[in-house]
Symmetry: C2
Subunit: 240 residues, 2 copies
């Protein structure tokens, strides 16, 4: 019996609209053309078949090289995975950090912007995002921890935006952690089902999910999930 059965070859994937996205933007520009092409091939293979079902031959075939060529550019298959996941996490963190910076904007506008852009990013890079979210088990413990640290920092950025709105009374009293998690959950899950060829553009989805996020925190929306009695005078607050 065959030990593994990658359902799709790199050649198949290169032509399949299911696995098209903008992940080739992500690679460090100090890298040469060949390693960048290898990452682009690898990200598709990992996304479609999984890290462990992908062979180094699969990755190399995607750029018309033979198996050994990979090791001139990367020391191991795991490091190819790490490079992809690290790049994805760092890029998205840098992206949303910039968006969260202008504290002059209203809390609502800030939330709308950061959620819509985060969503758009995940839609546009949905193939890489899929690997970033669902192939973490392929990393070594050290690399996994390194990625986790970036994830925590990303969560902190979002929680700060939500907490600010709660603090200044723009948002109602809610469990910041729980509500933030639900907001991010929607965007992250895009990696599972989104396709660029589908009927929702990244921008449309970004708008839609930003609307949802605002509904989760809006005073007059029928969404609960509030902290029962942490702040007694919260009910007395009015929207500015």
């Amino acid at each position: 019996m065959a030990r593994r059965q990658a359902r799709f070859t790199a050649q198949d994937l290169a032509d399949d609209p299911r696995w098209q996205d903008h992940s080739s933007d992500l690679w460090n520009k100090t890298l040469g053309d060949v390693p960048r092409a290898l990452l682009t091939s690898a990200v598709r293979c990992f996304a479609a078949n999984g890290f462990h079902a992908t062979t180094t031959r699969d990755i190399c075939e995607g750029v018309n090289l033979t198996a050994g060529a990979l090791y001139v550019h990367f020391p191991s298959k795991e490091l190819v995975l790490f490079e992809i996941i690290r790049a994805g996490h760092q890029r998205v963190l840098a992206y949303i950090r910039d968006l969260a910076a202008p504290a002059s904007a209203s809390s609502a506008d800030q939330l709308r912007t950061i959620i819509s852009r985060y969503t758009e990013w995940h839609a546009r890079h949905h193939v890489a995002a899929r690997v970033c979210q669902y192939e973490l088990a392929g990393l070594t413990p050290q690399h996994y921890d390194e990625v986790l640290e970036i994830r925590h920092e990303t969560n902190r950025v979002f929680r700060r935006v939500v907490a600010r709105g709660v603090a200044d009374g723009s948002f109602k009293q809610i469990d910041v952690k729980r509500v933030t998690r639900a907001m991010l959950s929607l965007s992250i899950d895009l990696g599972r089902w989104y396709r660029l060829e589908g009927s929702d553009s990244p921008e449309q989805l970004g708008e839609f999910y930003a609307d949802l996020a605002l509904a989760m925190v809006s005073h007059d929306a029928p969404v609960r999930g509030a902290v029962p009695a942490l702040d007694g005078d919260a009910a007395a607050r009015v929207r500015p």
Copy 2:
């Protein structure tokens, strides 16, 4: 270099609260004790390390058997995966079908019930749910198609509930497919992060996500995502 490195052994996982859930409820009761125990061990290994990173030896070690014993009960490793994924999908479909049946309930109550229960199910069976959602690539094409058919039927059940509320005016005019997808997205994503030991009980999350679902369809909620101009007199409708 080692070919694979499953980060956690079956023994580790059995004691790890991260991988505790109620998935042992799922297996067909016509099966014997040993195959059911094997499925329970396998679902944890697949969830923690991935299908391809899990060896048949890993699965068997989880129930103190040696490698060969698996093949008395299952013809292949892939069929162990299929059994898990099929059981998970069939159970959840049967569950929500029953809930969607009483057409006497109001559209809003029906939606609240089906979403909260679907969410609770995914929380309580989050380890199996993780395998059901993220290990589909390990299936043979035939088994994959079989599972996809159940998924489509599940989606249809939810879309029918949402569409009914739109048709009878309980819900506002929305893109049924898009909004339903967002509702399910939240519950499905639980497999990625949820833990029974965490601060959210399945029931609490079920309530919270049902609130969110209702906010997505409620007339007076500030959530858009509506179909622009499909039904001209929709704006004239009032909630019954």
